[in-house]
Symmetry: C2
Subunit: 316 residues, 2 copies
């Protein structure tokens, strides 16, 4: 059993590769829900959805979010009717949000709704929201405090972030199955997701970080930072404001209390930015520009963990 902590874009791609080298039924993915939002009255879980679409093989490779070949007829009409339209819901994507919202309205919890939707997509991996309780990532910026999606999507992460908080985290509980997926994992992988606003919210849920610290399983993190920049998104500015180096070293530092191996990009092999890491680093190609690189990154990550008596579960 392998357990992954993941956000959306980079995490979803990484998991696509992983599902090629590990039997999907042996995968548990604990997903950030700090980005969740109520949009047009619907419960939208961007990271859960990206992981879902990735595993279902329908994630748009161009956008990195939403469904490949998606249409936006509803969105265009909604815009004309005066609904806010900066968060882009595709026509097919909308069906998932309608279904999830109906399930939640009927009393099911987010983990149950997620499992049911995953099953409908034919997904055999366990996709677990970090919590069934609402945790909202908010970014304090020089333009005021914003909900994460406002900061990320609406403002295109232009305002300078000054700090991040996870509203509701203190009182949140890990979703059913989350602590067990950590305790029973033979390896734990931190996907190449933003350490502050993708993995950060997961680790902010009381009990999760402690469980990761206590597990005997080896733990690897794939750096979402190559050289001194994020592969995508606002990770660089957010790490900086959290006092972390914008480098693979900064990523290792974010996870220093539990990390066993850092997976960093080949391009950093001879870089000063990868110096002074007091944990092992495994260098390989982390830029997932093709399905082949995704799969190879998964293989490399698992292989790096073998030094830590990682039990072989890789498919032949």
């Amino acid at each position: 059993m392998i357990t992954v902590l993941s956000g959306g874009t980079g995490g979803a791609k990484f998991i696509q590769g992983l599902a090629q080298v590990v039997p999907p039924e042996n995968l548990s993915i604990i997903v950030n829900t700090g980005d969740d939002l109520t949009w047009w009255g619907l419960h939208v879980s961007p990271d859960l959805d990206s992981v879902m679409y990735g595993l279902a093989g329908i994630l748009s490779p161009e956008r990195g979010w939403g469904i490949d070949g998606e249409t936006f007829a509803c969105l265009e009409t909604a815009r004309r009717l005066g609904l806010p339209a900066w968060f882009q819901l595709g026509d097919r994507d909308l069906a998932l949000h309608l279904a999830r919202t109906e399930m939640l309205r009927s009393g099911r919890k987010l983990d149950q709704a997620t499992a049911e939707i995953a099953q409908r997509h034919g997904i055999r991996a366990a996709i677990l929201p970090m919590s069934n309780d609402r945790v909202e990532t908010r970014v304090l910026t020089d333009g005021g405090e914003l909900n994460f999606q406002e900061y990320f999507v609406r403002e295109h992460y232009r305002p300078e972030p000054l700090g991040v908080r996870f509203v509701g985290a203190e009182d949140a509980q890990p979703a059913p199955g989350v602590l067990r997926a950590i305790a029973e994992a033979e390896a734990i992988l931190i996907a190449p997701s933003n350490p502050i606003t993708s993995v950060g919210p997961i680790l902010s849920v009381p009990g999760i970080r402690e469980a990761i610290r206590q597990t005997q399983a080896p733990i690897a993190a794939v750096s979402p930072i190559v050289s001194d920049a994020a592969v995508s998104g606002p990770a660089a500015a957010l790490m900086r404001c959290a006092g972390l180096d914008v480098s693979c070293r900064g990523v290792a530092s974010a996870y220093r209390d539990f990390l066993n191996v850092l997976i960093a990009d080949d391009r950093d092999r001879n870089s000063d930015l990868a110096l002074n890491l007091n944990i092992p680093v495994h260098f390989c190609d982390t830029m997932m520009t093709s399905d082949e690189v995704k799969t190879e990154l998964a293989r490399e990550t698992l292989s790096a963990l073998k030094n830590f008596y990682y039990k072989e579960v890789v498919a032949s």
Copy 2:
């Protein structure tokens, strides 16, 4: 000022014609909301929407409901995700329901939401829901009692209707503007809609039928029955179960307490079915198979009312 009582399909077509011969800002349309349903958590008002789309010039002429050139990507995905899919919401149509539902959630009433959506569509006629209170048309059939949309759409009106009731009507109030639109009208037109489940719910709201009886304005109804069959939908079976003749005579009978002129189809001119009508009948082409016929039907209807000292408001 002309006030129309209307259901969906036939009513929406009739109003399209009317808007060609009367300045739209002189039109008030009181619309049946007994067919409204909560679908996927959204407030759907099929008749309001058909009238809206008709006046906006985007009503599908083939289907008679929904938007011309509509796509159904969300519906197809929703079906695969296990949502009920027998009520067909198109991708563009969905935006209207999302917008309306958001407005209602934010505290606006149905009449306000309707006015705002109409304005966004550039509609100058006043579209008035019969009531802001929920009135639900239910059809008792030989297969049990069904919500109207279950009977009409899901079951394709195959079960034999035994009776109809309007749940909530007793306690409903006419929406703001409805009674005034009746009192101040220079003519009142009953669209060629189902007398039982389209016009019936409107007349069931306390105060509306009384206001129509009391107005000095002349009142015409266009028969939705030609010969012994409905032009579309389940009107025939529903009229029969209400003890009405399935004929233009039956239509006149449904409105006998206030009707001044019946507009019946040319095809009934020499029919026994149009005999023994103790009110004036005006025969013309009521089968609205083209925009020209719609417009001509509106002209004929208004012209028939002239005998009742109808004040000229027809556009030159």
